[in-house]
């Protein structure tokens, strides 16, 4: 029997090597810039003439960035067990998402993402965040320009959950994860609001961003905008859902995920050795004869 302490020392499921880490960092910097551009954009005549185009450039850039990062993380090859786990957990997340969509602010997608990121490590958490939202968008026909931005934001949520300190166990662990869950609920809402901000208000209301104004000034305007539109309703609802789900279901779900990780024995090397030359080849006859009707 393995104690929880040794279980936690296990290798992460999708280890991020040095090169993918560099790529992920660069892409995250570029991604954050594409979320926060209204705060920093300069008031040059050329830029204001293209203010309407700037979001479009970013909308085209983000999918490419995301594809490059995901390709880089999976460049070492994802083994079958990790891939099946990724698929099944994405399906659960995608299935959980519409549960709350109708009710104000009850968002259930992050709770399992945080726990899975904690158990399976940062790389798995990042990819799971992306695939969950992608699968959910495909199931509900919700593919659009916002999707890559949602994907990378929820990827960061899973990544952060995997990077939390390893030490705490038991109640301390649940308390830490709950605090993190509340934090990311507000953080995700903040990021997505920042992305929608130029689209929602346009450029000429009192709550719109002013290109070239001091950062704090624009941040102030944005704070009013986000308080008015969503912080009290959606984001608080999401935070409460996260906290309640993590406190009530967290310990049991963590146990289930850890048991699965132990049984799957991720990281155990798989070697394929060729059969000795004298051994009979066990190939069915049907496969060795060419099918009829073809040259």
């Amino acid at each position: 029997m393995t104690s929880p302490a040794t279980a936690r020392r296990r290798l992460p499921v999708l280890p991020i090597g040095a090169r993918p880490a560099v790529v992920l960092t660069l892409a995250s910097v570029a991604g954050l810039a594409m979320f926060f551009w209204p705060l920093f954009v300069a008031p040059t005549p050329e830029a204001t003439a293209h203010t309407a185009d700037a979001p479009l450039v970013f909308v085209l850039t983000m999918p490419v960035l995301l594809a490059v990062v995901l390709a880089e993380i999976s460049s070492g090859g994802i083994d079958a067990k990790a891939l099946a786990m990724l698929g099944v957990l994405s399906a659960i997340n995608a299935g959980l998402r519409p549960l709350g969509a109708g009710t104000a602010g009850i968002e259930t997608v992050f709770f399992l993402l945080v726990l899975a990121g904690r158990v399976f490590g940062p790389g798995f958490g990042f990819v799971l965040g992306c695939t969950s939202l992608f699968a959910s968008a495909l199931l509900t026909a919700g593919v659009g320009p916002w999707l890559p931005f949602q994907m990378i934001a929820s990827g960061w949520v899973g990544l952060g959950a995997g990077l939390l300190p390893k030490r705490p166990t038991g109640r301390a662990e649940i308390a830490m994860l709950t605090a993190y869950g509340i934090l990311v609920a507000y953080g995700f809402g903040f990021l997505m609001n920042m992305w929608f901000w130029p689209f929602t208000t346009g450029t000429d209301t009192q709550l719109s961003f002013v290109a070239g104004a001091p950062v704090l000034d624009n941040l102030h305007r944005f704070a009013v905008f986000t308080l008015v539109t969503s912080t009290w309703g959606w984001d608080t609802g999401r935070a409460v859902t996260n906290a309640v789900a993590l406190v009530t279901l967290g310990p049991a779900v963590l146990a289930v995920l850890r048991r699965a990780a132990r049984r799957a024995a991720f990281g155990a090397p798989v070697t394929i050795t060729p059969a000795p030359p004298g051994a009979p080849r066990e190939v069915p006859r049907a496969l060795t004869t060419p099918p009829r009707g073809r040259p």
Partner: protein, 365 residues
């Protein structure tokens, strides 16, 4: 001659829809925008099949209406009263200083309302074009067309899409088992107990299912990818990292004021191109065959060209005659439509007649 019914490559529908969206992004003329909306809607009704995602278009129209309403309401509440033609005046509510000195309501001008309406309508049209692509393109076939470097991620999404319906069945089985054991499934004070009694078994079931699936995949030879030469790997890494550095620099250039022009969009595009080369090169690692690949034939070219022609003609119009694309707000004037933009808006309708129709539902004997 009528083309045989078959499903058109999803990539073609996406290119068509993106072309229409790009055309819509070039104009704020409500007449042109409504024409593009009508084109997208007509093609969707003519060429969608009976799959569940084909009903998504209506949802996007509702979303577009919400966008327009939001824009107009924001102009009324937070508009700050710009414009001369005041339609009516609402009582002003000054807010305290800490909310950025915002003043609510106040006089509402026609320029302000129309500006919000045009802007919102442009965004709503672009969203509706995306919705048309969602309704027309088959997402499962789209996943098949993912490039090689994303093969594994695509496979896991395929797993997710096919496991999702089984979860419903799993939930029902667990509930039935609970009832048979004399447990409760009702909500209320003991709701969390019941929730835990359902969530944990379903999750455990799903974990077992994933291990069984992994065993099945391994026994079918999944994951036996070819090896890449170290030089190729190094080249891929160098391309990707240089490209991303270029993207970061380009973004800085796009937003900055004092940066020279060549550090902006050109650097961004060069960075994206480099990273894309690395992406394609990295994808060579995966060699695979596709079961029943979607062909790219004349119909796909036709659909793509129709969308891109719409974008191209609208761009041409914005270069030659930009005034007809942006109706004047000061002084207020009725929007007018010139010939070239109208053709650009309408050329996207061609696939409604010339693309092959959706395959009929198979009739079971």
């Amino acid at each position: 001659m009528r083309a045989l019914p078959r499903s058109v490559h999803p990539g073609a529908w996406w290119l068509w829809a993106l072309g229409l969206a790009a055309a819509a992004s070039r104009t704020a003329n409500p007449v042109l925008l409504v024409m593009i909306l009508a084109v997208a809607g007509f093609v969707v009704t003519q060429r969608r099949d009976h799959a569940p995602w084909a009903l998504a278009f209506r949802m996007y129209l509702v979303l577009g209406a919400v966008i327009v309403a939001m824009r107009v309401v924001f102009r009324i509440v937070f508009g700050g009263g710009q414009g001369d033609t005041v339609l009516f005046t609402l009582p002003e509510i000054p807010l305290p200083h800490w909310v950025a000195g915002v003043r609510l309501l106040g006089p509402v001008a026609a320029e302000q309302l129309l500006g919000g309406l045009y802007d919102g309508l442009r965004l709503a049209t672009m969203v509706a074009c995306v919705g048309a692509a969602n309704a027309l393109a088959n997402p499962k076939r789209m996943l098949k067309a993912l490039p090689g470097a994303l093969h594994e991620i695509g496979t896991s999404v395929v797993v997710a899409l096919s496991v999702a319906p089984q979860l419903v069945e799993s939930v029902q089985r667990v509930r039935r088992a609970r009832l048979l054991r004399g447990g409760t499934v009702r909500r209320g004070l003991r709701g969390t107990d019941a929730l835990r009694g359902i969530v944990i078994p379903v999750l455990e079931d799903a974990m077992n299912r994933s291990l069984a699936l992994a065993a099945a995949m391994a026994s079918h030879g999944y994951g036996h990818t070819g090896r890449t030469a170290p030089r190729t790997r190094a080249l891929t890494g160098a391309l990707v990292i240089t490209g991303l550095l270029g993207v970061c620099g380009g973004l800085y250039g796009v937003m900055g004021a004092s940066t020279p022009g060549y550090l902006g969009t050109p650097l961004l595009l060069a960075g994206l191109a480099l990273a894309g080369c690395g992406f394609v090169l990295g994808g060579r690692r995966v060699t695979r065959t596709t079961y029943r690949p979607d062909p790219w034939r004349g119909a796909e070219w036709l659909v793509t060209v129709a969308g891109l022609a719409s974008a191209g003609l609208m761009y041409l119009a914005s270069r030659t005659d930009a005034t007809s694309l942006y109706p004047s707000l000061a002084p207020l004037a009725w929007p007018e439509v010139a010939l070239l933009p109208a053709v650009a808006a309408l050329v996207g309708v061609v696939p409604a007649w010339l693309a092959p129709g959706p395959p009929r539902q198979a009739v079971r004997p």
